[in-house]
C-alpha cells in the first residue's frame, strides 16, 4: 500500500517501528486463534470474560517502614483511602534472613520496608485489618518467615486455610536480580520455593504460592523482550522441576501461578508486552505441557511502575511518568497495579506521594472511562503487530535461556547477570549519546533543582525497638521447642521431603528469621553473587 | 454477545463490553480511514505526522504586565517551547482600555493586558517573532493582531512571512466575555473581514481558529463540542461565500481549530479522528473544494480546565497527563497542558514547568509518536469514531435547522444548551454518577497538602494605567481622530474594516477606542444567558 520506511525508529526494546501500520500488517492474524475473546484462549484480550467491567484491578501498593506498628498505621490509612489489597515490602534484614541484632544489619533495620521478625510482628502489622476481606502480597524470601507467619495468623483468627487469599513472591527471577547477603544457591532456592507451591496446591488452594516476577530484573536495565523471555523461562523452570519430582499433578501445580511485571516508559510496547505474555503462558501450559484446563493458562499479573525510570531530578516529573505507566498497565489488562511514589528516587514515599499513587489509579479507574470496554486497543494494526513481534522475540530469548540449561542454571553460571550488565552499560551509553531521552536528566536539564518536595526520613529509633523486642522474644520462648523444630527442619532440608511444614512448625515455635535462614545455608553452603566488572 | 448494561461514554454513547472484528466489518479502509495525509484524513492530516515533526508544545500564558509576561515568554522559549500563545487579560478580552474606570480591578488578571501597541511591543521585546509561531487569543476583529502586525512592520518584517494564529472565533467568545460586546452578526462580519484581509496580506497567518475549548468547559459533551465547532466553521464559510470577495479555497486553506481535551480518554481520541473526517467531508462534499490542503483539520488542543479540582491540586497533574496523551494519540498539531494549579490560581513557575515536562515526557519517553495513529484499526476506537461522527452530524444539523451558529447565539439557544449541560453536570456530580476523585469520591476532610500559590501583583494595574495615560499623551491627536473617523465610516459602509483597523493602530489607537467605534455602530449586546 505504501512504502513504510523504518528509518532508525525503534521501540525501547530495539524493535523497528514502521511509520504506519495498516490492515496489511495484520492480514495473517487469525482472530479466533490468535486474539480471541477475553476470558478465552489464547487470552490475548484478557484473562477474564468481563475484565474491568466485572471488577477493577486491585490497587495495591508495596509498602512498609520503620516498625510493625508504623506499618500497621500506614496500612490502616491506605485501607481507608480505598486501597483494596496489601503488599508487604519487608525491610532488608528480613529479606536477607538476618535478625535485627545481627551486627551485620543494625543500620538496615526498618529501612526500605517493614521489619517482620516474628509472628507477633506479623500480627501487629495486620492488627485491626480484615485479612479475610483483602488479599495480601508477601515479598517473602525463600524459606522465609512471612508466609508461615501469615498462615499461622490466619489460623489463629479462625480463617480456614482454603480461604486465605494472597501471594508469596519468592521466585528465582526477582531474587537473583538483587544482590542480597546470606542467600542460598539457585538450586536450593528452586527446591524450597517448589516445596511451597506443592504444599499450597494441597493445603491453601486460594493462595498464590509464587509470583513469577520480572519487575526487579527489568529495573536492571533489560528490555521488555528480555523481561518477558526471562519470565517465561522461569515458568518453564518451575514446571520442569515439578515434573521431575512428580509429586503433584501438573495442572494442580500450575493453577495458582501469579505474575508480577514492570510497566516501563515505552507506552505501546508495555501494553503489547502484557498482551503477548498472556498468549505465551497459554502456549507453554497448553502446547508444551499439554495441560488443557484453561484456568491453568491464565496469566494474572500485578504490574508496578518502573522505579528505574524515575528521576532524582525534578521528582514531580515522575508523577507524569507513573501516570503513563499505570495507564499502560490498565490498557494491557493487568489484575493489580502498584503506582510508585513519585519521590521514590529521592526517599521512601511520604504521605503525599502515597496518596498521589492511589489517586493516579483511582483517576484512571473512575475518570478516564478507559475501563468502559475490554481491551480497547484490540484490533489496532500497530498494537496487534507489535504484540506479535514482541512475542516472537521473547520466544527467541526463552530459547537462549533454555540453551544454557534453563533459568536456574543461567543464574548459577552468571549468564543472566552478564545480560544485566550488558544492558546496564548499553543504557548508560544510550543515555550519553541521547539515543534514550530522559527529560530533566539528559534532555532539558536545569542547572538548579526547580522545586523542592517533602522528604520522608525513617525513624532511627526503630532499630532499637526491634532489637529489644527480639531479645525479649528469645528470652520468653520455649528454647527446647525451638531447638527441636530447627533440628527437624535441618533433617528435612537434608532429605527430599517438602520443607514447608517444618518451616511452619519452626515459626510457630518462634524461631527467628536468622535461625531459619541459617539452615539451608548450613546444608547447601552460601551463594556467591555472580556479578563483577 | 456484547451487553450494553448502562455503560456510557461521557457523551452518553452506549459502550459495549467488547468490540470485535464484527464491529468494524462495514468499514472500508480506503474510504473511511485511508492513509495519513490523505483523504479522509482519519489517521492524521500529515503523511509523516509526529515522525516528521512532533506536536508543538504551546502554553497559553500571560499575566500581570507586558513586561513580566515578556520575561515568562523568554523563559518558555528557552525551556524548549516552540510556539508562544498569548492569553489576554480580562480587560483586553472585553475590549476596554486599562485606564477605563470600569476595569481597574481586572487588569493583569488571567492574562496580559494589551491596550495599546506599546503593550504588545513590551510583551514581545527581544523575542524573534520571525522565528516563532504566535497564537493570539484575540477576539473577533483581531485588534490585538493588528498591533502585532504593526509591530512587525516597525521591526521591518514582511507580514507575508509571519507565522501565527488569531483565534477570531465567535464560538469561544460566546463564553467568557459578558460585557461590552457587539451582537453576533457584528462578530461574524469583523471575523470574516479579517480572514479576507489575511488571505491577501498575511498568507502564512492562520486568520481563524475555530475554538470549542471554552464551550466544552461549560459542560458540553464531546458530541456537542464537535457539532458546535463545525457549525461555527460552516457559518463563517457561508458568510464568506455570500460575500464572494475571496475564493473559498483560499480562505479555507488556513483555517485551524482548537478543542478541549476532556477526561474520557478514548472518546477524546475518537473525537479528533472523527473531526478530521467530518471537516474533509464539509470542505469536499459540501463546498466542492478539491484542493487537499483545504481539507486538513489542523488542531490545537488544551487540557480541559473544568476537569481540574481545587481539592488535592496535584491530582490535576495526572488528569492533565492523560488528556495530553489523548491529544497526541488523536493526532493534534499542538497541545497546551494546563497548570495543575489552575483550579486555584494562575500557574506558578513550578506548575508551568510541569506542564511542559508532561508534554516532553509523553513525546520523548513514552514514545507515543513512534508510529502514526497507533490506535488505527482498533475495533473500539474505529467504532467510537464512527459513532461520534454520526451523532455530531445530527447536532450540526440541529444548529443549521435553526439558522446557523450566529442565530443560535442571538436567539439564546446556545446559552440554554450551556445551562442545561451545566445543570446536568452538577446533577451527575451530586448523585455520584460522574465520579470525581477527591471531590465526590474519596473526599478527604482536610486538604492533605499545600502547593505553592501564585500571587497576583496588586500594583500591576496602577503601572499599566500610568503607562497607558503617558502613551495616550504622546500621540498625534489629529491623525488618530481621523483614523478612527475613517474606521467608523468604513464600518458603516460595509467595506472590509481591517485596513482601517491597521491604519488606526499605526496612528496608535488603543483597543478601547476601536471597540468603542464597533459598539457605536452596532450597539451593545447583552448575552441572553439563562438560569
Amino acid at each position: 500500500m505504501t512504502a513504510n520506511n523504518e528509518d532508525q525508529i525503534k521501540s525501547a526494546s530495539g524493535i523497528p517501528i514502521k511509520d504506519l501500520y495498516i490492515p496489511n500488517d495484520i492480514k495473517d492474524i487469525d482472530y479466533d486463534k490468535e486474539i480471541g475473546l477475553p476470558g478465552q484462549p489464547p487470552f490475548t484480550r484478557g484473562v477474564y470474560q468481563t475484565m474491568y467491567r466485572g471488577q477493577l484491578w486491585t490497587i495495591r501498593r508495596l509498602s512498609g517502614f520503620n516498625t510493625p506498628e508504623d506499618t500497621n498505621n500506614l496500612y490502616r490509612e491506605e485501607y481507608e483511602l480505598g486501597q483494596t489489597g496489601f503488599s508487604i515490602a519487608p525491610d532488608i534484614s528480613t529479606a536477607s534472613g538476618m535478625d535485627p541484632d545481627d551486627p551485620r544489619v543494625v543500620s538496615d533495620v526498618g529501612h526500605a520496608g517493614a521489619p517482620i521478625y516474628s509472628l507477633e510482628d506479623m500480627e501487629t502489622v495486620f492488627d485491626g485489618l480484615p485479612i479475610e476481606r483483602v488479599s495480601t502480597f508477601l515479598a517473602d524470601r525463600v524459606g522465609g518467615l512471612l508466609t508461615p507467619a501469615y498462615f499461622i495468623m490466619a489460623q489463629k483468627r479462625g480463617i480456614p486455610m482454603d480461604q486465605v487469599r494472597g501471594t508469596t513472591a519468592n521466585d528465582l527471577c526477582t531474587w537473583s536480580s538483587m544482590e542480597l547477603a546470606n542467600q542460598p544457591t539457585p538450586h536450593t532456592f528452586l527446591r524450597m520455593s517448589v516445596d511451597l507451591i506443592e504444599w499450597c496446591a494441597e493445603n491453601a488452594p486460594r493462595w498464590y504460592p509464587i509470583s513469577m516476577n520480572s519487575y526487579n530484573p527489568r529495573d536492571n536495565g533489560i528490555t521488555a523482550v528480555q523481561e518477558l523471555g526471562m519470565l517465561m523461562a522461569t515458568v518453564i523452570q518451575y514446571i520442569e522441576e515439578a515434573k521431575r519430582r512428580g509429586r503433584v499433578p501438573l495442572d494442580k501445580f500450575v493453577r495458582r501461578f501469579a505474575f508480577n511485571m514492570a510497566v516501563h516508559n515505552d507506552f505501546f510496547e508495555e501494553i503489547c508486552k502484557l498482551r503477548a505474555a498472556r498468549r505465551m503462558l497459554l502456549k507453554i501450559i497448553r502446547d508444551r505441557y499439554g495441560i488443557d484446563d484453561p484456568k491453568c493458562g491464565q496469566l494474572r499479573v500485578h504490574v508496578q511502575s518502573s522505579g528505574s525510570t524515575h528521576t532524582h531530578q525534578e521528582p514531580l516529573n515522575n508523577l507524569v511518568r507513573i501516570a503513563y505507566q499505570v495507564m499502560a498497565g490498565v490498557l494491557g489488562g493487568a489484575q493489580s497495579i502498584h503506582a510508585n511514589g513519585y519521590d521514590e528516587a529521592v526517599c521512601l514515599p511520604t504521605d503525599q506521594s502515597m496518596l498521589l499513587s492511589i489517586r493516579t489509579e483511582q483517576i484512571v479507574a473512575l475518570e478516564t472511562n478507559v475501563t468502559n470496554t475490554i481491551d480497547p486497543l484490540g484490533g489496532s494494526y500497530f498494537v496487534e503487530s507489535l504484540t506479535n513481534e514482541i512475542e516472537e522475540r521473547a520466544w527467541d530469548f526463552v530459547k537462549k535461556i533454555e540453551e544454557v540449561g534453563g533459568m536456574a542454571q543461567a543464574i548459577n553460571t552468571g549468564w543472566i547477570h552478564r545480560e544485566y550488565k550488558a544492558a546496564i552499560i548499553d543504557y548508560e551509553r544510550k543515555l550519553r549519546s541521547g539515543e534514550i531521552n530522559v527529560v530533566g536528566v539528559n534532555k532539558f536539564r536545569m542547572e538548579k533543582e526547580p522545586h523542592s518536595i517533602p522528604i520522608f526520613k525513617p525513624d532511627p529509633k526503630s532499630a532499637d525497638i526491634l532489637v529489644e523486642r527480639i531479645k525479649r522474644q528469645r528470652e520468653q520462648r520455649d528454647n527446647a521447642k525451638v531447638t527441636k523444630a530447627l533440628q527437624n527442619l535441618e533433617e528435612v532440608v537434608r532429605s527430599e521431603e517438602n520443607t514447608f511444614p517444618a518451616i511452619m512448625e519452626a515459626v510457630k515455635a518462634q524461631a527467628t528469621p536468622g535461625e531459619l535462614a541459617a539452615i539451608p545455608l548450613k546444608v547447601y553452603g552460601p551463594w556467591t553473587y555472580p556479578i563483577g566488572v | 454477545m456484547a451487553s450494553e448494561d448502562k455503560v456510557f461514554s461521557l457523551s452518553g454513547i452506549p459502550i459495549k463490553d467488547l468490540y470485535t472484528p464484527d464491529d468494524v466489518k462495514t468499514i472500508d479502509y480506503d474510504r473511511d480511514l485511508g492513509l495519513p495525509g490523505h483523504p479522509p484524513y482519519t489517521r492524521g492530516v500529515y503523511a509523516t505526522m509526529y515522525r516528521g515533526q512532533l506536536w508543538t508544545i504551546r502554553r497559553l500564558s500571560g499575566f500581570n504586565t507586558p513586561e513580566e509576561t515578556n520575561k515568562l515568554y523568554r523563559e518558555e522559549y528557552e525551556l524548549g517551547q516552540t510556539g508562544l500563545s498569548v492569553a489576554p487579560d480580562i480587560s483586553t478580552v472585553v475590549g476596554m482600555d486599562a485606564d477605563d474606570p470600569r476595569v481597574s480591578a481586572d487588569i493583569g488578571h488571567a492574562g496580559v493586558p494589551m491596550s495599546s501597541i506599546e503593550d504588545v511591543e513590551a510583551t514581545f521585546n527581544g523575542i524573534p517573532i520571525e522565528n516563532v509561531s504566535t497564537y493570539l487569543a484575540d477576539r473577533c476583529g483581531a485588534v490585538t493582531t493588528a498591533m502585532y502586525f504593526v509591530m512587525a512592520e516597525r521591526r521591518g518584517l514582511d507580514l507575508k512571512g509571519l507565522r501565527g494564529t488569531t483565534a477570531n472565533d465567535m464560538l469561544s467568545f460566546s463564553v467568557p466575555s459578558l460585557v461590552n460586546q457587539t451582537p453576533p452578526q457584528a462578530y461574524l462580519r469583523y471575523a470574516v473581514d479579517f480572514i479576507e484581509w489575511c488571505c491577501e496580506h498575511a498568507p502564512r497567518w492562520n486568520p481563524v481558529s475555530f475554538d470549542s475549548y471554552n464551550s466544552r468547559d461549560c459542560g458540553l459533551d464531546a458530541v456537542q463540542e464537535l457539532g458546535m465547532l463545525l457549525a461555527t466553521a460552516i457559518q463563517y464559510m457561508e458568510e464568506a461565500k455570500r460575500r464572494g470577495r475571496v475564493p473559498l479555497d483560499k480562505f479555507v486553506r488556513r483555517v485551524s481549530f482548537d478543542t478541549g481535551l476532556h477526561n474520557d480518554f478514548f472518546e477524546e481520541i475518537a473525537k479528533l479522528r472523527a473531526a478530521r473526517r467530518m471537516w474533509y467531508k464539509i470542505v469536499r462534499d459540501r463546498y466542492g473544494i478539491t484542493d487537499p490542503k483545504c481539507a486538513l483539520f489542523r488542531v490545537h488542543c488544551q487540557s480541559s480546565g473544568s476537569t481540574h479540582t481545587t481539592q488535592e491540586p496535584l491530582n490535576n497533574l495526572i488528569r492533565i497527563a492523560y488528556q495530553v496523551m489523548a491529544g497526541a494519540l488523536g493526532g493534534a498539531q499542538s497541545i497546551h497542558a494546563n497548570g495543575y494549579d489552575e483550579g486555584i490560581c494562575l500557574p506558578t513557575e513550578q506548575s508551568m514547568l510541569l506542564s511542559i515536562r508532561t508534554e516532553q515526557i509523553a513525546a520523548l519517553e513514552a514514545n507515543i509518536g513512534n508510529t502514526i495513529d497507533p490506535l488505527g484499526g482498533s475495533y473500539y476506537v474505529e467504532s467510537l469514531t464512527n459513532e461520534l461522527e454520526e451523532r455530531s452530524w445530527q447536532y450540526v444539523k440541529k444548529i443549521e435547522d435553526m439558522g446557523g451558529m450566529a442565530e443560535a447565539m442571538s436567539s439564546g439557544w446556545l446559552y440554554k444548551e450551556y445551562r442545561d449541560a451545566m445543570i446536568e453536570h452538577e446533577r451527575k456530580v451530586a448523585t455520584g454518577e460522574l465520579p470525581i476523585v477527591g471531590v465526590n469520591r474519596f473526599r478527604l476532610e482536610k486538604e492533605p497538602y499545600e502547593v505553592p500559590i501564585f500571587r497576583w501583583d496588586p500594583e500591576a494595574p496602577y503601572k499599566q494605567i500610568e503607562k497607558l495615560k503617558a502613551f495616550k499623551q504622546k500621540r498625534d491627536k489629529d491623525k488618530l481622530t481621523a483614523s478612527l473617523e475613517n474606521l467608523e465610516a468604513v464600518t458603516r459602509r460595509g467595506e472590509n474594516v481591517y485596513p482601517a483597523v491597521m491604519d488606526a493602530i499605526r496612528c496608535n489607537a488603543t483597543l478601547g477606542e476601536i471597540s468603542d467605534v464597533q459598539l457605536k455602530v452596532y450597539g451593545l449586546w447583552r448575552r441572553p444567558l439563562a438560569i
Binding site: I92, S93, A95, S96, M98, R104, V105, V106, S107, D108, H111, A112, M178, E179, L180, A181, D219, N220, G221, S308, T311, H312, Q313, A345, V346, C347, L348, Y420, K421, I424, I425, Y427, E428, L431, R432, V438, V441, N442, I455, F456, K457, P458, Y529, I531, G532, V533 | -
Partner: protein, 136 residues
Amino acid sequence: MDSKNVKILMAKPGLEGHWRGLIAVSSAFRDAGFEVIYGGSMRPAEIATTAAQEDVDIVGLSILCSNYMPLTSQTIEQLKAHGKGDVMVLLGGIIYPDDFTELQKMGVSGIFIPGTPLEDIVKFVNDRIPELKKVA
C-alpha cells in the same frame, strides 16, 4: 601517577540489593583505565579489610537506602581502624542535599546522586589523582 596506577574498591556497605549503579560506575572507572576491585555487597569491616589488603587508593560506596549516614560513618571508622584513613571515599546513591555537608565533614570527598553523568564521576576522580596519597 595516572589512572592505571590507581586502585579503586567499589562496594555496597548496606544489605539492600540494588547494584545497578555500582556496576555502571565500576565499568566506567575500568574503561577509564583505573584498576577496579568490584567488592559488591560487603559490610563496613570487610570493606576496610579489603581496602587494606589490596592497598587501594579510593573506596567508592553505593547506598540506595536511607541508612547512608550510619553506613558511611561506620565504613570510614573501619577504614581508619585498618590504617586506611587516608583513602579517598566517594559516595553514590540517593543522598539528601541536607546531608551533604555532614558527609563531607565525615570525610567523603565526592557525592554523586542518580542522574549524574558517568563522565562527570570519572572526571572528578581524574582531577584528583594528584591528591591521592601515593603522590603526596
